[in-house]
């Protein structure tokens, strides 16, 4: 745990934290809102007291109630990983500013997060799907995208995934999986859910 880094971070961005700074093992974690991403990341990258020059990872997270974008940074000035969480993005329209102006290489990381979660990175010049085909409409890593025919936990009913929009009439007879239920903690529990064969698709 790097207590000096904690002090420096609190001095620089203390008023912008949306949750208190946390430190555990070798990671320091700060929480900010989507609006502060540009400023905070620019300061972390350019300011010589931070000098976070390596963007170690960028990824999206769907908690079931909201979306996050999580950045991991590395600096020669600190023994800790710095995790910056841009939390509280609404699930129906998650938007966050792009960091490609600092790290050009974040472009593909952001494309992946867009492809998998539908998070829109404003300012990314090339925000299109990267893994899934161009005419694909769902976002596979979202928590309401279930895998009913996953070999690990069901005998397999032979359909690939659950569409977000109701299927057209000729596909109406397919079984539909219930949407994931929200656990009291605000997180989706997908444990033990199997396709409900009796339920018909909603009109």
């Amino acid at each position: 745990m790097d207590t000096q880094l904690k002090r420096r971070l609190e001095t620089a961005f203390g008023d912008r934290f949306s949750a208190p700074l946390r430190q555990r093992a070798d990671t320091t974690e700060i929480w900010i809102g989507a609006g502060d991403v540009t400023d905070v990341m620019r300061t972390l990258h350019d300011d010589e007291q931070f000098e976070f020059e390596v963007l170690s990872d960028i990824c999206g997270v769907d908690t079931g109630t909201e979306m996050w974008v999580v950045y991991h940074l590395w600096s020669p000035r600190s023994p800790d990983w710095l995790r910056v969480v841009a939390a509280g993005l609404p699930r129906d329209d998650p938007r966050v500013p792009s960091v490609t102006f600092l790290w050009k290489g974040a472009e593909w990381g952001e494309r992946e997060a867009y492809d998998m979660f539908g998070i829109v990175f404003e300012g990314n010049r090339d925000l299109r799907r990267i893994y899934m085909p161009p005419d694909y409409t769902s976002f596979p890593l979202r928590k309401d995208f279930l895998l009913p025919d996953d070999a690990a936990r069901s005998p397999g009913e032979g359909f690939r995934h659950v569409e977000q929009s109701p299927p057209p009439a000729e596909h109406r007879r397919r079984p539909v999986v219930r949407r994931a239920k929200l656990a009291p903690g605000g997180q989706v529990s997908t444990v033990g859910q199997l396709p409900d064969q009796t339920e018909e698709a909603p009109e």
């Binding site: 555990r24 390596v54 991991h72 990983w81 050009k104 010049r125 893994y131 996953d150």
Partner: protein
């Protein structure tokens, strides 16, 4: 209403398209989706598009690259990924933590000892688990052996893409010796499935150790022989020196890691930058080069093989006795939390961001693959080079499609 004459998309039955997208057309059958795509597919005088892959041997897997060329010169290029996409992250979320090990195995199919370590180390960090020292030493031993096997193959591939077949055969001899050795230890030649949460699967056995001792007695000499084959080869030098040059700042901004970054003069190696396992007890250097071209990347790989042999030597001398597994139950429920781990694979930094909600399955297992971010650099390296050098520069970045497409 949708047009009935349109074709139903193969990927999504709700979507109708004018013409299904095929892999054969360089120009996509739909209007540009982004600014960059519009710019790329707009041709000026004398420019044309050609399609490389997805099954071209020099793309090291199923990578498709659309090249925009002017004569023999590459003006721009657009890599198209996803032909090998399996959704490993989603599959991991739907299996339990032990399944994640074998699911992550085929990501880096040339050095899978590294990719299978990700979920293991993430789970250990979430559990605050202390792995027995002997298990840590065995892990380091396997990692470094696998690194040598992978780097040997890299040198062969690079030479193959430049038109030389012999180094590939030498690379495979080296790799086969190591792979057979690891097979004696783990029971598998390629996808080892050897690491476990809390330790490793089996202890060192006689077969493995005798093969290892046999190989160690001649490894250093063989590496130098292999190096002599290429180091001063006129054709090799001409086709790698000064090609695909990346400076320090660009490499950092492109989020590159591993040998391509160190060849640009940044001594960033996770084993030293953020030590994990027992690497802080071992003595080794981080080889770097300043030139940042294909030749520098090749030389960094070669130096890393030498360093790995040094590490293996120390590990064998200091191998402690003791258990190889921590005492944990077979069925584990990992406490809620978030953990980030990183490790240095032959291609760069593999890292994993894991979230647990207290069940026996990962809530989110983000896998950061180094080849994915390194491959991105071809867009910055290619413009101005000849088509024939595209393969050489791409090979010097050492992409593995299993990890890129996840």
């Amino acid at each position: 209403m949708t047009d009935r004459s349109a074709v139903r998309s193969l990927d999504d039955p709700n979507v109708f398209v004018e013409m299904p997208a095929t892999i054969y057309d360089a120009v996509p059958p739909y209007p540009p989706r982004t600014e960059r795509e519009a710019e790329f597919y707009h041709l000026r005088d004398g420019e044309m598009l050609i399609n490389l892959g997805p099954q071209h041997p020099s793309t090291h897997g199923v990578l498709r690259v659309v090249l925009k060329i002017d004569g023999e010169q590459v003006v721009d290029l657009d890599p198209v990924l996803g032909y090998l996409h399996r959704g490993v992250e989603k599959i991991c979320e739907n299996g339990d933590w032990h399944h994640a090990i074998s699911n992550c195995d085929p990501l880096e199919y040339v050095a899978s000892m590294f990719s299978e370590a990700m979920p293991v180390m993430a789970a250990e960090k979430l559990l605050d688990l202390r792995v027995p020292r002997r298990a840590e030493y065995i892990r380091v031993l396997c990692w470094e052996l696998n690194r040598i096997a992978s780097h040997g193959l890299f040198i062969g591939w690079l030479a193959l893409d430049l038109g030389g077949l012999t180094p590939l055969l030498y690379g495979f001899i080296e790799r086969d010796t190591i792979i057979e050795m690891l097979a004696a230890l783990t029971g598998q030649r390629m996808l080892f499935n050897y690491l476990r949460i809390g330790g490793v699967n089996r202890d060192l056995n006689h077969d493995f150790l005798s093969r290892l001792a046999d190989w160690m007695s001649r490894a250093a000499v063989e590496i130098e022989q292999e190096a002599r084959l290429l180091n001063e080869n006129e054709i090799f030098l001409r086709r790698t020196k000064g090609l695909g040059v990346l400076d320090r700042d660009t490499a950092l901004r492109l989020c590159m890691t591993g040998p391509p970054l160190r060849a640009s003069g940044v001594p960033y190696d996770v084993r030293r930058a953020h030590p994990y396992s027992v690497y802080n007890e071992l003595e080794f250097d981080i080889p770097t080069r300043e030139e940042g071209d294909s030749y520098a990347r090749y030389m960094v790989h070669l130096d890393e093989i030498r360093e790995s042999i040094r590490i293996i030597d120390q590990v064998l001398h200091e191998m402690p006795d003791g258990p190889i597994m921590a005492k944990i139950p077979r069925l584990i429920r990992i406490p809620p939390g978030r953990a980030y781990i990183a490790l240095e694979s032959p291609r760069g930094q593999y890292s994993c961001y894991a979230m647990s909600d207290g069940s026996d399955q990962p809530f989110r297992l983000r896998i950061h693959d180094p080849s994915y971010f390194n491959l991105q650099a071809v867009g910055a390296l290619m413009p101005g080079n000849l088509i024939a050098d595209t393969m050489a520069v791409m090979a010097s970045l050492d992409p593995i499609m299993g990890g890129i497409d996840k």
